[in-house]
């Protein structure tokens, strides 16, 4: 017997601010975007970048401080007993900066430090947060590229369904990394302008920083996770077929596993990276499953592509928009890749419903989840 998984409490930091500020920015289309210098094949280049308003340094200490702030907001209502029954999962695509630090400390003579040894991994944020907030000692960091934190959410669902834990805190984190932006630049996936989801003139993604968290449990809540499906199915390591059959497959399986029919879906939050190949595959997948009147939208033009954090960040933003009475319009879209399959161009009044959220990543990881809000 499956328990109903409730999405209980969330907190975020995006380039537009905290959750309230981000929803306000989306509602008023008042978008704050910065720039960063990255190295390219030829020279240094200034690229648009959705940076957090209060700078988070590319260091363990700075990231940890921000994560601590998010977790403190999420677990504030949990008493000591409940915290001991709470696991913590992190989804991130961040390169492990512990290793970078240690490489610098031990490989280059001019940077060398005396030998020290301290168990560290990419999960060290989670382990330290567990200790800080008195949570159960179970921590885990999931690293499946852009599906990292949504996959952590599905893992959290399993941990609760199996009775292993009463609650799980799921975090998504990705902040500016020289390696990451340099890597995307080398793959020629970055736009020098704005993200144009599903538009014929789309030319790439704009990276973004974010820290987001959600508390999952079984007590009554207006938002529930009906289910989801995650798999590894692609044409190659960076993309699926242009036909989008792999995306359509994971979307269908997500509906099947959550006992949801196509007609039940009120709207879809697309992954919509605004890259030529990903958007083509996703729009084709949408066309395979839904008719042309189907409503779908993209959130990345407001906050950037926040990579491993986008799972929880976009979930929290989407839920909060609906709580505020609307589904956000897709900005920067003019001419659709496929005639008549157009993302919504105006904020759509919506207070409840069943929604599909798509997330796709490098390494063949595709994930689709179904959430539902019922008015109390």
């Amino acid at each position: 017997m499956h328990k109903t998984l409730s999405l209980l409490k969330c907190a975020i930091k995006s380039a537009q601010g905290d959750l309230r500020q981000t929803i306000s920015a989306i509602k008023n289309s008042n978008i704050n975007i910065s720039t960063k210098i990255v190295s390219t094949f030829d020279a240094e280049m200034e690229i648009p970048y959705f940076l957090l308003q209060n700078r988070v340094e590319d260091s363990q200490k700075s990231i940890y401080k921000e994560l601590k702030d998010i977790v403190s907001k999420i677990v504030v209502d949990l008493d000591k007993d409940d915290r001991e029954k709470t696991a913590l999962l992190v989804g991130t695509s961040l390169v492990d900066m512990n290793i970078v630090d240690v490489v610098n400390d031990s490989v280059y003579e001019y940077k060398r430090t005396p030998y020290y040894s301290s168990k560290k991994s990419i999960d060290s944020y989670a382990k330290d947060l567990v200790d800080e907030f008195g949570l159960n000692g179970f921590s885990m960091s999931v690293s499946t590229a852009c599906t990292s934190s949504v996959n952590a959410l599905l893992e959290a669902s399993n941990l609760i369904q199996s009775g292993a834990f009463k609650y799980v805190v799921v975090l998504g984190v990705d902040i500016f990394s020289e390696m990451m932006s340099n890597g995307f630049s080398s793959m020629k996936l970055l736009s020098l302008g704005v993200q144009k989801p599903f538009d014929i003139s789309r030319d790439g993604l704009v990276l973004g920083e974010a820290i987001a968290g959600i508390l999952v449990g079984t007590e009554s809540s207006s938002w529930v996770l009906k289910g989801g499906y995650s798999n590894c199915n692609s044409a190659n390591i960076t993309s699926v077929s242009a036909s989008g059959e792999e995306y359509a497959d994971v979307m269908q399986k997500a509906m099947h596993i959550s006992n949801t029919n196509i007609g039940d879906i009120t709207a879809l939050k697309a992954h919509a990276t605004s890259t030529p190949t990903n958007d083509m595959s996703e729009i084709n997948a949408i066309k395979q499953l839904f008719d042309k009147d189907f409503r779908f939208t993209a959130i990345k033009p407001y906050i950037g592509h926040t990579l491993g954090a986008c799972g929880i960040l976009e979930l929290a933003i989407f839920m909060s928009c609906v709580d505020d009475g609307f589904i956000p319009k897709t900005i920067n879209h003019q001419d659709s890749i496929i005639d008549k399959y157009t993302p919504i161009s105006e904020h759509l009044e919506c207070k409840d419903g069943t929604f599909m959220l798509n997330y796709f990543g490098f390494g063949g990881n595709n994930t689709s989840i179904i959430i539902k809000k019922e008015l109390v």
């Binding site: 290793i99 030998y115 301290s118 382990k127």
Partner: protein
Amino acid sequence: MKLYIKATSTYLSDEELDIKKELKQRYKLDTRRQDSFIHLAVLGAQRLKDITDIKKDDELYLTSGVGNIDVIQRINRSVYEEKQFIKPFDFINTLGNTTSYYVATSLGIKGKNIFQISDNFTYINSLISIYSSLSMSKKEAIFGCVDLVSEPDEILKRVLGISENCELVSGVNYQKLSVNNEDSISEIEFDTKFYTLDEIKEILKDSDKEIFSSFRCSEIDAKKESKFFETELSYVINKRVESKKDMIYIDCFNGRYKILRLKSLR
């Protein structure tokens, strides 16, 4: 919580082997664009495939003590020291799930695929995740543990929290796991509970099973492996499964202990 082992595979770097050559010649696999960490992970997977059926929708879980240090070291040098751009495939290889992708592709798996690391009990915590997932999906899981010693090994020693003179070894160990005991060869039992040292000593006092422990558990009188890698528990389990023997394994971090019990079903 109980999981049943259906098959295991093991490789330690003590065994003289040109892994890349083995993958190309014996397994006819394309090794281009991959690095040593990925090759190690794929080798272990192929050895498992040699002895058991892998289904398309088997769930794949990979874990590691710290992940792919080699590629981070290489990129670190490119970006910060040489001020060069990153090669696209080096960039892709920094992502944890790139290794999972190549493993899944080599096994023909198209289902769930998770790369995850826990800073403390990465093996046992992964078992808890797998148990929870299989309890819901009723599928089987392929669980791989990969640890590569890169040069200089001082990097790994500093990251693992071990002494400078500890001897390290690279290892890849796989288990095929199920919540169903049919055709299984061993049973592993574990839970989410943490124990104190006193509680552990009390439990071990009455045990008639052989006791093994991680080298971190210096206060426990138990057998320990002479060479270390973070996921050595997977190796110890595979060895005991092969010899059809039971055991109790104790691991610890920061004064908190975990127990895993292995029971042979053959």
